[in-house]
Symmetry: C2
Subunit: 368 residues, 2 copies
DNA sequence: TCACTCTCCGAAACCGATTTTGTTGACTTA
DNA sequence: TAAGTCAACAAAATCGGTTTCGGAGAGTGA
């Protein structure tokens, strides 16, 4: 029906009613200087013709796109980040209620990331950005700040934050984690983390150290290892730490993916997770409840975080002072079954593991 | 530097060089009727000023947005679909190379889904849609076809397909799965699937039945169950089927999430997966390699699929005949350790399980 | 030298909205 | 009754590009 590509324009409506198109526009934008009679006639025509204003034309004039952007980093072939998936889900839901849309693009390197931001800004495709997985020294934050382009970050950075941000109190969470493990009886606690360029990874590492410090436990740098933030990294991290002469009896992992990998290592070497070795993760991924044993983890709702930052960004766009839009949330520990009192001393664990490693050379060599 | 909001327009460039803006536009769009001298001067100015054309203004005139849309269904609070996450990842990567962007929106119901499509079309925010998780009778396909709006689907439907699509040969995969299990010695094979309104779920169920038929095995409808497509559904499905008087010794699950839930049920009831009960999934999720035992699964690369459909849609937009853009891919079975010859007969398995169910009332009641 | 063809580019129309400015007639107010 | 105010809308400018149209000047052929 009607014309091809069903484009009813404001002119069509104006002509149909017999008014100027500016009048139609004013009705649709709730101006007050229109008589009720005219308003009615126009609204009726709008409904009849099924008119919807072209976002493009409107944006051109108003300079606003009603679209937010997110640039997600993609590695080399590695799967999608499960945290990001839920995060984006949360953003999209929140924006839907507000009538905005989300533009998703990828970047395969830091340079590409900046290029992409630049392109989207220059071509005016988005009104603001949501920046995730902030780095300690984040070039994106620097760039957007310099450009004065609106954005909000999920996570802080080392830069003085003049922008809106939402973050989890990673330090406190990990310090609490250490204290929790200590109270269970663990005295040698290992940390499996990720690249310290990532702000959350650094904070979690720091939290780990602060936790030890607060307990007066001597810190042993040998008990810290940094790995790729996926299951494979967790496997490698567990292997490294548990192969020490005096292995840790508990592993505090920076993400659930790391923890899941670590658990696989334990399982393959007949170490009972939750007693021989305790493993704690962070993220609260649904799948964590289905592995063996169900993973004890710190959780934050990625979905909620997505909604939160979206609303913050809207506020920024509405002119609110970004520095008044900064919030820190606490993570909560979801205890399932991968933590418990140590059944063996560090020494006994070391002996047991060395025996098994010798018994089963290469066993559990995880592909690749 | 320069003006606020760094918007260099085509007029700025034209003025800077001393030509008409139409000339600048022609240079940028590779028209041939421009002298080399002028072309050089303009390109130099463009670079100097860092000019990038406004997508909005360009689109207004050209009627093209260089943006593709995807509307993802969101359930009630349930987490993000891991398959979709990788799929979107693949799309975004492919589009990046082509200079297009992806608009992601969510819909919480069928009606809302259509409304959203409608809105995005009417407001002209996207050039075409990628439709995923097709339903047997898909209102989206009907709507877009009727509107004559370009789209491509991941998955087929029961409608005569005049559109571009990419799909996996689910039927063959599941028929093969059944034959594989039969060759391992399983005679009672269960199927844990999802709502038959979803096309892939129906196809997988059909493949399961065809597999049995091809083997001449009697089909027992009791051995089929349909559940929510997540871990919880898998748990419930396993419980249902394994509680039968003559339980299946193998469970063919429509997705990895279902399989992971099913495995948890087995674990909690001391059934050794891979011998007492065989479980096979579908999706090839990375995490499947890290559960206990590592999950045997059919895999398709969600990322690749995303790239594939993106390119198809581009072709449609370029005017290619959609019906020439239809492709069916085969899934491959990744054997890990959750399948094997049955260690017990169906009867023995039934006896063992009933004993355990009585021993551990309510054990494994998986929260909510 | 005149008419004709090209090459190259300026001027203006156009895309579809929003917003500013201006106009008309009715109604006040002194 | 003249001047001023106000409501209600038309007309035109504007956003930043693309595309059409047309014209000036150089080159070509007769």
């Amino acid at each position: 029906m009607s014309r091809l590509r069903g484009s009813v324009t404001i002119d069509d409506v104006a002509r149909h009613v017999g008014v100027a198109k500016g009048t139609v526009s004013r009705v649709l934008n709730n101006y007050t200087d229109i008589s009720d009679a005219t308003r009615e006639r126009i609204l009726k025509a709008v409904k009849e013709l099924g008119y919807q204003p072209s976002a493009t034309a409107r944006n051109l004039k108003r300079g606003r796109q009603d679209t937010l952007g997110i640039v997600i980093p993609v590695g080399h072939g590695s799967g999608a980040d499960p945290f990001l998936a839920e995060f984006i889900d949360g953003i999209a839901r929140a924006l839907d209620e507000l009538g905005l849309d989300l533009l998703v693009t990828t970047a395969h390197s830091r340079e590409h990331m900046i290029e992409t931001l630049q392109r989207l800004i220059a071509r005016r495709k988005v009104d603001g950005f949501i920046i995730t997985r902030t780095e300690v020294n984040d070039p994106r934050i620097a760039y957007l700040s310099e450009q004065g382009f609106p954005f909000v970050t999920h996570g802080r950075s080392s830069l003085p934050a003049k922008h809106a941000w939402f973050d989890i109190d990673n330090e406190t969470a990990f310090a609490d984690g250490v204290r929790h493990l200590y109270s269970l009886g663990h005295e040698r606690i290992g940390f499996v983390g990720g690249s310290l360029e990532l702000n959350f990874a650094l904070q979690r590492r720091n939290g780990y150290r602060h936790g030890l410090l607060s307990l007066g436990v001597t810190q042993d740098r040998e008990l810290e290892t940094l790995q790729d933030l996926n299951e494979k990294g967790g496997y490698a991290g567990a292997k490294e730490l548990l192969s020490l002469d005096q292995p840790p009896t508990a592993l505090l992992c920076a993400t659930d993916a790391l923890a899941i990998g670590a658990i696989r290592f334990c399982r393959e070497h007949d170490l009972k997770v939750g007693s021989d070795v305790t493993v704690i993760g962070y993220d609260g991924l649904p799948v964590g409840d289905y592995i063996d044993p169900p993973l004890t983890t710190f959780s934050q709702s990625a979905q909620e975080a997505g909604g939160r930052v979206s609303r913050m960004l809207i506020d920024v766009l509405d002119g609110k002072d970004p520095t008044s839009l900064q919030a820190l949330a606490q993570a909560t520990l979801t205890r399932r079954s991968s933590d418990g009192a140590p059944s063996k001393t560090s020494e006994a664990l070391g002996v047991a593991l060395r025996f098994r490693l010798n018994q089963q050379p290469n066993y559990g060599n995880n592909g690749e």
